[in-house]
């Protein structure tokens, strides 16, 4: 089933960490296996934030050796960043097995991402100037507490509560998906794409690489790819409604925008609240009401509808 949620503040920052935690906790019943956040903070020019992990959560139960392997993987990651000319300015541990690095870099992002992913056990969750992607096993409050997300200041965010269906319960299969290796693009999705492999093969022939077998990742890469070819976000999303086959509702976020798209059958739910200052979207109204307890005017977007908002 899965639950998705998004929010965007227009023209101001807010505690989007706490807000998204509240929304996703309200959607826990739609998917308790894992929870993910794509939070868009206040970007610093010429600086990238990379979130990565060096082990799965369940690996931590595999004895003393895992700590040593994680230390080696992290040292290798730092060594490779340095060899590519990246300058690490902050290296903060998020958990025992994941980190948040801030670094400056003016080289090719695909080279950097490929080189980092090449380290056994290392997975990049996101790279971006505004994007910070956090996902782990458990409900929203568990993950938010684990990664200290409350107090995270930013303009917009998307999130996901996952009921594992087509793949394992692990971090790699959790949403949101970063559009590897495009900076600052992330997607959450509720639905199924029936032409996943056809589109994936097309994109792989054009040089794209996929980190999972999840159809949601395809949407992220598809949108980022169209934008890299000078298409604006809304046009890329309108095209996606025609080219993606299946039933879906997805949210996509870039450094300064949030968008939603629904398939032509309108088979998957989405409730929308929009005011001059704020836009909230979720699979169920209870998620929006968790941060707006008073009565608000909401509605369901229609079939094939695409909407984009700017922060």
């Amino acid at each position: 089933m899965c639950g998705i949620a998004g929010l965007i503040h227009r023209g101001r920052s807010s505690d989007i960490g706490a807000e998204m935690t509240s929304m996703l906790q309200s959607l826990k019943h739609r998917g308790p296996d894992s929870t993910g956040f794509a939070l868009y903070g206040n970007a610093v020019p010429d600086r990238y934030v990379m979130r990565f992990k060096a082990a799965e959560q369940e690996d931590m139960k595999s004895g003393f050796g895992i700590q040593e392997r994680i230390r080696e993987r992290r040292e290798e990651a730092e060594s490779r960043l340095a060899s590519l000319g990246a300058t690490i300015e902050n290296a903060d541990p998020a958990t025992d097995y994941s980190w948040r690095y801030v670094f400056s870099y003016d080289g090719d992002m695909r080279n950097l991402a490929d080189y980092m992913e090449d380290i056994e056990g290392v997975e990049i969750l996101s790279i971006g100037k505004a994007l910070e992607l956090v996902k782990d096993l458990g409900d929203a409050e568990t993950v938010s507490s684990q990664y200290s997300l409350s107090g995270f200041q930013g303009t917009h965010a998307i999130g996901h509560t996952r009921m594992a269906t087509e793949s394992d319960v692990d971090i790699r299969s959790a949403h949101p998906y970063w559009a590897y290796p495009f900076s600052d693009v992330s997607v959450v999705h509720n639905g199924q794409l029936t032409n996943y492999w056809t589109l994936r093969r097309e994109m792989e022939r054009r040089g794209h690489r996929f980190m999972s077998n999840c159809d949601s990742e395809l949407i992220a890469v598809y949108i980022a790819d169209r934008m890299a070819r000078d298409e604006d976000l809304e046009s890329a999303m309108v095209r996606s409604v025609d080219e993606l086959d299946g039933v879906f509702t997805y949210l996509v976020a870039t450094s300064d925008r949030l968008g939603m798209a629904k398939d032509v059958m309108a088979a998957k739910p989405m409730v929308l609240y929009e005011s001059d200052e704020f836009v909230g979207l979720a699979s169920e109204e209870v998620a929006i009401r968790s941060i707006f307890p008073d009565e608000i005017e909401t509605w369901d977007p229609y079939h094939g509808e695409v909407k984009v908002w700017q922060a």
Binding site: V264, A266, V271, W299, D300, Y302, H303
Partner: protein, 279 residues
């Protein structure tokens, strides 16, 4: 009998007679109030009660409604429902029930007899399998509004999502605004009135029933065809919409009518037990 059949045809109703045993016993309009649930409550509409649903779970809210009904309350106001799911379900009795706020998914489902008013919005599958009574939504509604309803009036003054009245088996669904794709999908009986625009595939694969639309129709689904509006239907539409103070922008006289082409028609009204006898 012929004149009755002719009149029902003029009214936009199906022409075949219902012969199923339960249809005769429980759903005959000439046998009003012929069926009472054994656990029904005495109703005094002047006996009023209200409570705050804010701190309660959906189960607690529904149990509280039943408790108040058991105590004789005929008019209940539920404050602060906060879009919780499955509120006001399974009420098989006369009752005036008001939700001051919005409901989540599956609100007012499986009801048989109450008059329910929701001052806010409702999520997916409002009034699913409703049997009788009225449910009035003052704002918008989500998808599958009135799925499989069998009777009563289900009204949304605002816009509704896709698959409105999917598998509708009776009763009347009234939409004050627009409706989404696949409204009337596999509709079997009853009537649907959409005062605004209707989304794509209107009435797709409908077996029977009638759909009236005031605005533009994006396109018709498989086997849904335009029908000819009769004077009786215009009178009925005027009376029915007048009951809820709803009027389409185009005027009732300009509404369009859609029915099943019956090229896909493969529907019989024999009960399973009767089928066994015949076959």
């Amino acid at each position: 009998m012929a004149s009755v059949a002719h009149k029902s045809h003029d009214m936009g109703l199906h022409t075949e007679q219902l012969t199923g045993r339960t249809q005769q016993r429980f759903f005959s309009s000439s046998e009003e109030e012929n069926f009472t649930y054994p656990w029904s409550f005495e109703v005094d509409f002047d006996n009023r009660a209200e409570f705050d649903a804010g701190p309660m779970t959906p189960t607690e809210v529904n149990l509280k409604i039943r408790e108040l009904m058991k105590q004789g309350a005929g008019s209940i106001t539920v404050k602060n429902p906060q879009a919780k799911h499955a509120l006001g379900v399974g009420i098989l009795n006369r009752l005036n029930l008001t939700f001051e706020g919005s409901l989540g998914y599956f609100g007012c489902g499986l009801v048989d007899g109450p008059n329910i008013r929701v001052t806010g919005r409702v999520g997916w599958s409002c009034a699913e399998n409703m049997m009788a009574g009225t449910v009035v939504i003052e704002h918008n509604a989500g998808s599958t509004f009135g799925a499989a309803i069998r009777g009563g009036d289900l009204v949304c003054r605002g816009d509704v999502g896709s698959r409105t009245g999917i598998d509708q088996k009776g009763g009347t669904i009234i939409v004050g605004g627009r409706s989404g794709a696949f409204s009337g999908f596999m509709m079997q009986r009853g009537r649907m009135i959409i005062c605004g625009d209707a989304g794509k595939n209107l009435g797709d694969s409908m077996y029977d029933g009638t759909i009236y639309v005031g605005g533009e129709v994006e396109d018709l689904g498989v086997d849904c065809v335009p029908g000819e509006m009769t004077e009786n239907e215009l009178k009925w539409l005027t009376a029915k919409l007048g009951t809820y103070n709803i009027e389409p922008a185009c005027g009732i006289e300009n509404m369009k009518k859609f029915v099943a082409g019956k090229q896909l028609w493969n529907y019989d009204n024999l009960e399973p037990a009767e089928k066994k006898l015949v076959l």
